[in-house]
Point group: C2
Chain length 219, copies 2
């Protein structure tokens, strides 16, 4: 392993960058952030310089141990396998499956459908309804799973990958004015984790590339 400080290519409001920031913070891994603006100059993720980091022009990317990793869930699994001191998956395979189920419902069933690159492909007047429909559909599934898995957090009383996927998605739901009233377990866990140091540090409002205006508008 290289002794260099890992570099995370991140955007303040990207929920996939946020998942990785959470895992890094929870595991106590030091890292430098290089902000990649998804809005400036048509998106810095498409720049020639960044394409050399990630040929598929997406964030996050993590340079660590001499390798460049992309795709948030894959990065999280790598960190779990190489930084074992603070585990974010249970030890038993069935428990690990329960965590990954919730990650998958969010990472495949919700986030891709409300991702702006996708939503922008719809006519403007359809976008708000589309986003609300798919976040509500996905959270209905997550809430049902949490009925049988949750304790203090998504899976029992230990913080896991599932919480790292859930919290950014709750922020996005609020950002798009999705009613969360019927999602009692989701909102309880979200509230529980708002004051956790690793979650405060990973929040969009704590990022150096967060515009000033948004610092006053805490989720």
């Amino acid at each position: 392993m290289s002794g260099e400080t890992p570099i995370l290519y991140s955007y303040w409001r990207s929920s996939c960058s946020w998942r990785v920031r959470l895992v890094m913070n929870l595991k106590g891994i030091s890292y430098d952030v290089k902000p990649i603006s998804l809005t400036k100059t048509g998106g810095e993720q498409h720049s020639k310089e960044y394409r050399e980091i990630n040929p598929i022009e997406q964030i996050p990317a993590l340079v660590i141990d001499g390798v460049t990793l992309i795709e948030s869930l894959s990065i999280m699994e790598y960190l779990e396998e190489t930084r074992t001191k603070v585990p974010l998956l249970p030890t038993d395979p069935a428990g690990r499956a329960k965590v990954r189920e919730i990650c998958s419902v969010i990472a495949s069933g919700i986030q891709p459908l409300q991702n702006l690159a996708v939503v922008n492909y719809l006519e403007e007047e359809k976008r708000a309804d589309w986003i609300k429909h798919f976040i509500t559909r996905g959270f209905t599934a997550v809430e049902k799973l949490l009925e049988s898995t949750s304790g203090k957090y998504c899976i029992g009383d230990n913080i896991t990958f599932a919480d790292c996927c859930l919290i950014p998605q709750v922020y996005n739901a609020r950002r798009f004015h999705v009613s969360l009233e019927s999602f009692r377990i989701i909102t309880r866990i979200d509230e529980e984790l708002q004051s956790h140091p690793a979650f405060i540090k990973a929040h969009p409002n704590s990022q150096s590339d967060c515009p000033q205006a948004d610092n006053t508008n805490l989720a």
Copy 2:
């Protein structure tokens, strides 16, 4: 572990069911298939009986070792952790990350956007264009990743989870008339695996619930 034969709730043409069938076949795990029709009577996945298996009303679901697992990638990781004889992930963390990156691009970046439950939410005349756009966008990313990872298969010369995600997605691309001409590595790997016994057995046309008509229309 329970000695009972695992039961896979599956639909012949579901790419997520297909991924799990591939992993079960490659690892030599015996299992019974219970077909769940996504089209009959408004979708059997919404039946009261199936909701008791999977409360979020999706396939696949796998009953194994006395637990019920859902979400294809999570099921695949469970099988990798509990059935180690035929590994479908490399042993080194960076190699495992490369496999999971490709799985993630397909499972989060392509499949959810061309899933019929999602596409049916669009106006009918927009659907074909939408599907082609997002499969082409996703395959452009996968092809770029394969340029640096592929050997005989997606990651070097061993079959991995990445191949189990790729092959069903290629079938879907063909089903929706997406041009694959520029995806040379993807189509080469697809061709390579068409004659592999585990892939033949997992193919939609080999499933007991495949309608007769489709048996004559091999992908």
